[in-house]
């Protein structure tokens, strides 16, 4: 091994401060991690570091100067530098492609090669995949599980939460495209369309329903069956109900976020029997109060 003073390029009379200065100057140039592609840097750095290990230690330097020890063994042990690991293709978050991002934005073949190399190596989360699903109105209120068959033959089970609204997007974590490196898979995003229902319409948390009733139910009142998304219920129609009378079934609407439910609003509609009934006609023609009642009175005519 060469003379450590020579290696550091200082005279043997150099002060400790000069030694450190000389060492730092060389180490900055030669540190293997600052020269990842230079194979000779490591050898040179080891030599310099070994020399400084010897001379930077006042006690060892005194003994070396006195000839008690020589420079043998002052060379540093085999050491693994960061650069030995940084090149490994394990998709670690340390590696950063910002340094050539501008080249990748180009449209030429070189940029394409760079992009491909980045895709192959980067620690990337998989892409989110988008799907569409149409469900029945009733399912959107009570919740259900639907299965989507994927183009590749796989299937996704989608849990429809009760009270889902048209256009709502359901995220299935980790069901998207697989990631690269340590990046996890993306998510599946399912946009759910709620098909219109011929009976129910939705307004916020409430559900509206137009329900036909007979003339006798309207005049005399009575109990009738009313459909709700969760099944039929019995409702009392009060005596003297009219077309347009709206009755409220509490808690039979869509579930609210955070508990509770909206209501079902039942709008009554009086429907006469399909074929004219002579008995009814006879009654109405003799019914003076009915004839004298003008429902348009007071409204613009």
């Amino acid at each position: 091994m060469r003379n450590p003073y020579e290696i550091l390029g200082v005279p043997s009379s150099a002060s400790a401060a000069d030694l450190q200065k000389a060492y730092r100057k060389l180490a900055k140039k030669l540190h293997p991690d600052l020269n990842p592609g230079d194979k000779t840097a490591e050898e040179k750095f080891k030599e310099v570091a070994g020399a400084y290990d010897l001379l930077g230690d006042a006690e060892k330097r005194k003994r070396f100067d006195a000839g008690e020890i020589d420079a043998t063994g002052a060379e540093r042990q085999q050491q693994h530098f960061y650069r030995d690991f940084a090149g490994a293709d394990d998709g670690h978050p340390y590696t950063n492609s910002a340094g050539f991002g501008d080249f990748m934005d180009e449209g030429d073949a070189f940029a394409e090669l760079l992009r491909r190399s980045q895709r192959a190596r980067a620690n990337r989360r998989g892409e989110d995949l988008h799907y569409q699903l149409a469900i029945d109105f009733v399912d959107s209120i009570v919740g259900t599980t639907k299965r989507i068959i994927l183009p590749d033959g796989g299937a996704l089970d989608v849990k429809i939460p009760p009270g889902l609204v048209d256009g709502q997007v359901i995220r299935l974590k980790g069901k998207g495209a697989p990631g690269a490196g340590k990046g996890g898979p993306g998510d599946a995003l399912i946009e759910v369309e709620v098909l219109p229902d011929r009976r129910f319409t939705r307004d916020g948390d409430n559900i509206s329903l137009e329900l036909p009733i007979s003339l006798s139910e309207a005049v005399l009142g009575g109990k009738i069956r009313v459909p709700t998304p969760t099944g039929d219920v019995t409702m009392s129609v009060p005596k003297g109900s009219n077309t347009g009378t709206t009755l409220r079934l509490r808690g039979k609407g869509a579930p609210r976020r955070g508990g509770g439910s909206g209501d079902e609003l039942v709008k009554l509609k009086i429907v006469l029997p399909k074929s004219p009934d002579p008995e009814l006609e006879a009654f109405v023609s003799n019914w003076d109060v009915g004839k004298n009642f003008n429902p348009r009175e007071g409204s613009a005519s």
Binding site: A27, P36, Y82, H92, N96, S97, F100
Partner: protein, 93 residues
């Protein structure tokens, strides 16, 4: 070889507070697991680099931030270059 936080502290000689600071600065990003952190040999080598920068080269904390950022970019580019090399020779990725 995978190390726990304790094993990492022992083998690298780094103080706990120092490690906390490095983690906060994201100079080290060990793998997080349910029961703590896993340090790889790569993390140990990177810790040694940080120590070299600090003690041997006299770089202060601000400087270390800059150096690590540039080194990470450099390795990113070196990888891309290596990949390009493979592609240009018509080999498989």
């Amino acid at each position: 070889m995978i190390m726990t936080k304790q094993e990492f502290l022992t083998s690298s000689g780094v103080q706990v507070q120092t490690l906390e600071f490095w983690l906060e600065q994201e100079w080290l990003i060990p793998e997080r697991t349910a029961d703590g952190m896993n340090f790889s040999e790569k993390d140990v080598a990177r810790a040694r680099l940080i120590q070299d920068l600090k003690t041997d080269l006299g770089v202060n904390d601000e400087g270390i931030d800059v150096v690590l950022h540039l080194i990470d970019q450099l390795h990113g580019m070196r990888r891309a270059l290596a990949q390009l090399h493979v592609e240009l020779r018509g080999g498989q990725a």
